[in-house]
Symmetry: C2
Subunit: 457 residues, 2 copies
């Protein structure tokens, strides 16, 4: 039999998360600033709004951070996730490239997000919280929160960007099946939501607005823990189980990637897959080219500025130094998938600044086209988010064909598209368009980036 699937044993689930901060050359990561004082947030200030172990992880520069056994136990429900060689896709592309993909859709909620949902639920439960509060864009993170809360016997409430809430009724239904309450955002439940609805009753919502609503709700009730699905250092950290497993699996395949491709929204899936490889490179291992593929409708890395900015529209949370389009940015409503954050995870931004990661932006119709080709050869319907990585990987493989050169390409298949069939229907009906974001839209959003976020900037 041709080897197409590389599996690991449960005992090979990583025992620690990998922290790129330990291996970054040069200056330490820029600190996160308090929105109140404008100064770097201290560990104790952080621990006032999140469980202590998470605050410690957020600030840590240790290379390896131990994974608690109850978290590994739940990881074992679906981890280690499989790594596949895409031989049928290779043949369809007639490419000399070897293409591999690490598949995170085997998680019960269908994406990589429970890798951080489970530990965040664990730490919040340990800290005595009885419920979780969060925001979600297209719904992958909300579903992961719903799953994680259910497994720890916690309640959950998810503020979901209204346009996605309307476009993706089955994401909401999935969350509800786990017992979670899902609220379209902006909502009348919070001061932030009411203010936005007063100004624009038809606001489609944005991840920044939903984040403000979640933060406001959590701040008002000490029994609730705010959890988040991307960008933050501890979230990226939790996702590194992906890349650590992939390193072992590439060794099983007796191969090593020349190029790794990931889709990028807030950066957690990209970081999870690539940081362990980048860490190996920084410690003297093989050099790997890392491609971050983002949607042209939300071009944070390719057209944003590096600056201190808020992660939320209501400016309730702290300021991060990151690639940002401005916290008032909203992707055009035609954009069907996730990857809709205005700001990138600070650690990913830093890796882009350090030229460890190369960003590109692609239009959604070419991504769906790649996703359909993948589905019809490999058999797995990809999430619209993941099609960005597939597009990038196929283009690399076609370049190999044009150059008559073999390369090893690894990409992250971050989730399946079972809850995204409305978007596929639109694509097949020819009703999905690419909308380039105009310079004017970008300028308007960029004006929301604070000029003087604090002394430390």
């Amino acid at each position: 039999m041709e080897k197409t699937k590389f599996l690991l044993d449960e005992s090979q689930i990583p025992r620690s998360w990998y922290n790129l901060a330990a291996d970054l050359p040069g200056l330490p990561l820029a600190p996160t600033l308090s929105s109140v004082t404008g100064k770097p947030l201290t560990r104790d200030e952080m621990a006032a709004t999140m469980p202590e172990p998470i605050a410690d992880q957020e600030l840590s520069t240790e290379r390896d951070i131990e994974i608690p056994e109850p978290v590994r136990q739940l990881y074992a429900q679906w981890r280690p996730s499989p790594l596949y060689r895409a031989r049928r896709l290779e043949r369809a592309l007639d490419t000399p490239a070897r293409i591999y993909y690490k598949y995170e859709g085997v998680a019960p909620s269908g994406s990589h997000k429970p890798n951080t949902g489970i530990p965040q639920a664990f730490y919040n439960k340990e800290a005595g919280k009885t419920g979780l509060i969060t925001e979600t864009g297209a719904g992958q993170w909300g579903s992961a929160t719903a799953l994680s809360a259910a497994l720890f016997g916690l309640t959950a409430k998810v503020f979901m960007v209204k346009v996605s809430f309307q476009q993706k009724p089955y994401r909401r239904a999935l969350m509800e099946s786990y017992g979670t309450v899902c609220v379209p955002s902006p909502s009348p439940e919070t001061a932030v939501g009411r203010a936005i609805l007063a100004a624009d009753p038809d606001s489609p919502g944005s991840l920044g607005i939903a984040t403000s609503e979640a933060l406001e709700t959590a701040a008002a009730d000490p029994s609730l823990g705010y959890v988040l699905g991307s960008s933050a250092n501890h979230v990226l950290l939790h996702q590194t189980v992906i890349g650590q497993e992939a390193l072992l699996q590439m060794a099983l395949a007796d191969d090593y990637p020349d190029v790794i491709v990931g889709c990028a929204g807030g950066g957690s899936n990209l970081a999870g897959l690539t940081f362990p490889f980048l860490g190996a490179q920084l410690r003297g291992g093989p050099k790997v080219r890392v491609l971050a593929v983002e949607p042209a409708a939300c071009p944070t890395l390719t057209r944003g500025s590096i600056a201190y900015d808020y992660a939320d529209t209501g400016r309730l949370g702290p300021l991060f130094r990151m690639h940002t389009l401005g916290h008032e940015f909203m992707p055009p409503p035609v954009h069907a998938g996730g990857l809709r954050a205005h700001g990138m995870g600070p650690m990913v931004s830093r890796a882009v600044e350090d030229k460890l990661i190369e960003p590109i932006a692609v239009g959604q119709t070419s991504c769906f086209e790649a996703g359909v080709q993948f589905n019809r050869t490999e058999g797995i319907l990809p999430a619209p988010e993941s099609t960005h990585a597939i597009r990038g990987a196929i283009d690399e493989a076609l370049r190999c064909r044009a150059e008559g050169r073999s390369r090893t390409i690894l990409f992250g298949l971050s989730g399946h598209g079972h809850f995204d069939l409305v978007a596929y229907e639109k694509y097949f009906a020819g009703n999905l368009e690419d909308e380039a974001v105009s310079e004017e839209q970008l300028d308007r959003a960029a004006a929301s980036i604070p000029r003087q976020p604090g002394a430390a900037s």
Copy 2:
């Protein structure tokens, strides 16, 4: 770490399918009758409508039938499937029982159906067909056909029971994503469909009608191969990879089932899981109690007759000796899941006659309740079909608690519910009801069972 997942290596994918016909005590299986002659179908008559290897499998009494390597290669995409110990469910039920489940939702289309879709596509491609034709009820089989056709570069057309086509738009969208054409049945495309529409333009359709439409379409074009998703001997045979793997996995768990529970529509998932265990029992191995759980809305095993009947409403196909409600039976439209066949697979019927399998019928609301409890403890949203097995397993576990007795329960989790969220939404909204089928309805449908199907009956 507590052991909750039992995995096998790719090399342990079975090399042959297991045929219960080799081990059945007493008389051989009753033959299938030609609808033209009323006499047993010969091997050559069968081979006129299906690839020769499938005709041979349909009639075989060999115990082990070799799986072609290209089929095993594609099985390897998701097989061996995992077997789980449901420890969190056990704790929630406070039961001394040990509960295991074999999970087939890891297949790319989300159910056990590709286990037979892949070999049927393979044999049809080998026989020179360029496309596949079939019917589907709730959509699991149609999706599996779509996947299997795509992987072999075949076209596919699926006649989908109209009420399901309307209730489950995302099943259709999934099929289309693989390049399959999905047609609501009854349709104006066939003589059978046109006749039914003329009599009742609002006909909700039935599996029997869709089957007739598929058979008529395939008969009119020799380049197309008719494939089917349940009931037939060769289909049950292909599914036995499930139970063969489960035997190895129960050994890994150092345990053996006292009870095995499966949901039953046409019987393929039930047979696939249980026949290898029943075969072991018939050859002198441990005795196992097998429960077939069917919907009260389609009570084939519990309220049907054993008789020769057609599998299709239009009487185009042959006659099978089986439990049947009559080929004009239609489940009440409130029934949300699959398991809507009026007739049971002849081999399963025989095993029920031989007291190897014990049938029970349950209402759908209690099944959804069990499914939600399972989802919130084990984290996996089950297909409505599979919730019947979960209901049966939970009831057995509760009986263990009441009796203060530990038993080992294994059930088949035949698929996930990602495409069934409309039904879950209805359930949560309190809009899902149980509809018992009245004696009068049963009598009316039973009148369609032929009195004298042929000399052999």
